[in-house]
């Protein structure tokens, strides 16, 4: 295998992985703090993608419309998440895990049907924005600039989140609530508000992924199911609740699938699952998670 080919395949895998990282990071953060496994997280990503399409097509005449959308669409998605947390999730925190699964599974169906009602069953496209359109030669192979941009976004978000969690007051508050909810409550921290905030942060991340994906793909129903399985694989490999775990997990899954396609295309889809099973057997809390 030539070095250029390895590089191209690695970069392809990383760009796919970084979009999944953004969604998985949200899923992981929500679980880490709220102890809720949001099965509907893929659906929230899909809502973000549809919101991105709506903004870019409604304001298509505005210069740099995609960049405005990149700021606004994740915020709009976070607001949708906030409504879900306040009116639905809050009611089941005290209940068994089973009710969480039933509720969030129900949300998958409800959000899916709402998207169908609002945006229809067809597919929609968003153009790759200037200046990240075009391609660059990497070791002689033409590689799209947008995919490099995605890798950059993933790394930037990871670093930004780490900084936020460890070097800001808000971040410390969130970590306190994650570590010990009752003690945080006793110290006067408004735990319900932190929960809402963290859920909204997770949805903001999903919305960001939903905004970044459309230029290189299509916006359509079914996007939720397409990503949620990859996200679960990532958080199992990396460790549920761990941000660095989600990052490493995403890189591993992206590269594994990409090289799998290169070497044994017919089995490539299985590689992620096989690794997930191995991790579950030998280290169930994931590579960077903590054993309960």
């Amino acid at each position: 295998m030539r070095i250029e080919v390895i590089a191209a395949q690695a970069l392809s895998g990383l760009s796919v992985g970084m979009v999944l990282f953004l969604i998985a990071a949200g899923l992981s953060i929500i679980f880490g703090t709220l102890k809720v496994l949001n099965l509907a997280h893929g659906s929230i990503y899909m809502v973000g993608a549809f919101i991105c399409y709506t903004f870019t097509s409604t304001f298509a005449h505005v210069i740099g419309v995609f960049w405005w959308t990149l700021i606004l669409a994740p915020i709009a998605t976070a607001l949708v998440g906030g409504l879900i947390e306040i009116f639905l999730l809050r009611r089941i925190y005290a209940e068994e895990m089973l009710y969480q699964y039933i509720l969030t599974f129900g949300l998958i169906l409800v959000l899916g049907e709402m998207c169908k009602l609002i945006w229809g069953v067809g597919y929609h496209t968003v153009s790759v924005p200037w200046p990240v359109n075009g391609s660059v030669p990497i070791l002689g192979i033409s590689f799209p600039v947008y995919n490099l941009f995605l890798i950059g976004c993933g790394i930037a978000v990871f670093v930004g989140l780490l900084f936020f969690m460890h070097y800001t007051g808000l971040g410390s508050t969130i970590r306190a609530v994650t570590y010990n909810r009752e003690m945080a409550n006793a110290l006067g921290i408004n735990v319900p508000m932190v929960y809402t905030g963290v859920f909204m942060l997770g949805c903001w991340l999903a919305g960001l992924a939903g905004t970044l994906m459309p230029p290189m793909s299509v916006v359509a129903l079914g996007a939720d199911m397409e990503v949620i399985i990859g996200c679960f694989i990532i958080v199992v490999i990396g460790g549920l609740g761990s941000l660095p775990g989600a990052f490493i997990g995403a890189i591993i899954l992206g590269l594994l699938t990409s090289f799998g396609i290169f070497i044994v295309p017919r089995l490539a889809v299985a590689f992620g699952f096989i690794l997930m099973i191995i991790i579950l057997v030998i280290r169930p809390w994931g590579l960077m998670g903590k054993p309960e």
Partner: protein, 415 residues
């Protein structure tokens, strides 16, 4: 009292006479009673463009025929119903059309699943059902029967034999890498393509087969694999609509269309590419098949048809519209030859008929009731004539070679 009695009797007699008179015009009206053609299609949702287009094609034919006096003095009437892409709904609407609305013929559908459900019912009910879009070759091959016809191409020429013949004629590439969704149609599409292509170009090889899961919209790792595979050409098996758009966007970004030959059968679909503007990603230079490239068909009747379709619904016709137009005219010809709306005699007439259409003579083949519609192919480009990318250097495949032969069908039916 007596006066009352006379009054009531007179009223009764008048009523009876009026009622009696009612029957007489009916006999006269029977001559003008319309011949009803049912049409079950996707009239709402993502595929509604096809349903509306087909219905419109039928309506145009009906308007022309009725203006010229109808068929055997009777006007034609088309009743369209929405299948909602569900076999149960499609079947229910078909039954309602046959049993309550008393349609004489049924046409449709886009979904092969709906088509097969209606076909099975039409076989039991002994009513003629003519397919105008759905492509699964199984419907007319393994599952074909006396009352089923297809005036339309099918998956064999469109996804398989057509691209094979076109590629053999155009570039005859030896090393091909394929990509298709991992489901029945995807695998069938490649199998049918290989069947024909390896016969025409014996030293050709499918060097690798890529099968992303159905519904994949991120093909990036597959595309870099294709780009570095050393193949002369890549072949997409049954990748159409949103998945095809996503693939093309990503392949375009990787410069794949400049790197190697592209065999992308569905790229010829106006339905998918009609909204793409110049500068946006499209399958540049790809070899594509097309089922109604109206821009390259010279017959003025075709041009008039395109214009009338556009005037009626505001978009350009899909091939289904053309098919439904031919179906209405085929029924007219058959009914007139037979002299009555007699299903059995019409079946006998249709199954050996040669349709005289604006794309040439189209014979209906007796062994499977499949009309031998032509398949066109060409190279995808943008030209100043049209605002969307379309096939150019258009060539046509006529005759039975793009279809399974009757011998092959006999073997399939025996299994």
């Amino acid at each position: 009292m007596k006066k009352m009695g006379i009054l009531v009797s007179m009223l009764l007699v008048m009523c009876m006479v009026a009622w009696g008179i009612g029957f007489v015009p009916e006999a006269a009206a029977a001559k003008k009673k319309p011949i009803l053609i049912g049409h079950v299609h996707a009239m709402s949702g993502a595929m509604s463009m096809y349903g509306i287009s087909c219905a419109t094609g039928g309506e145009i034919a009906i308007a022309e025929i009725n203006a010229a006096g109808g068929v055997l003095g009777r006007p034609l009437k088309q009743i369209s119903r929405d299948s909602k892409l569900s076999p149960e709904t499609g079947l229910r609407e078909s039954k309602d059309l046959f049993l309550n609305k008393r349609v004489d013929f049924l046409t449709g559908t886009i979904s092969s699943a709906v088509g097969q459900a209606i076909s099975a019912y039409a076989k039991r009910a002994k009513k003629i059902f003519i397919i105008n879009i759905s492509q699964s070759s199984r419907t007319t091959e393994e599952l074909g029967h006396r009352y089923l016809f297809r005036i339309d191409t099918n998956a064999v020429p469109y996804f398989g034999y057509g691209p094979a013949l076109a590629l053999a004629q155009k570039w005859a590439d030896k090393k091909i890498i394929s990509l298709g969704f991992d489901y029945e149609m995807g695998h069938n599409g490649l199998r049918v393509f290989k069947e024909k292509y390896l016969q025409l170009v014996p030293d050709a090889k499918i060097i690798d087969e890529l099968w992303p899961p159905l519904g994949t919209t991120d093909f990036t790792p597959y595309i870099s694999k294709i780009a570095n595979s050393g193949a002369d050409a890549f072949f997409l098996s049954c990748v159409y609509g949103g998945g095809e758009l996503a693939f093309t966007k990503q392949a375009w970004a990787f410069g794949l269309y400049d790197k190697m030959h592209a065999v992308q059968p569905c790229a010829g679909d106006v339905e998918t590419w009609g909204k793409v503007k110049k500068g946006e990603p499209y399958p540049k230079g790809a070899l594509a098949t097309c089922r109604y490239p109206f821009w390259s068909i010279e017959d003025p009747k075709s041009k008039a048809f395109v214009e009338e379709h556009y005037n009626r619904v505001g978009f350009l016709p899909s091939y289904g519209a053309m098919n439904q137009y031919f179906i209405i005219y085929a029924l007219k010809e058959a009914i007139e030859k037979v002299g009555a709306v007699d299903t059995e005699k019409i079946v006998d007439t249709l199954e050996t008929m040669v349709l005289d259409t604006f794309v040439g003579k189209v014979p209906i083949r007796t062994c499977d009731h499949q009309a031998i519609m032509p398949t066109w192919f060409g190279i995808m480009k943008f030209t100043p004539d049209l605002p969307f990318p379309h096939i150019t250097e258009v060539e046509v495949l006529r005759g039975e070679s793009p279809y399974h032969s009757c011998e092959q069908i006999r073997k399939l039916r025996k299994k």
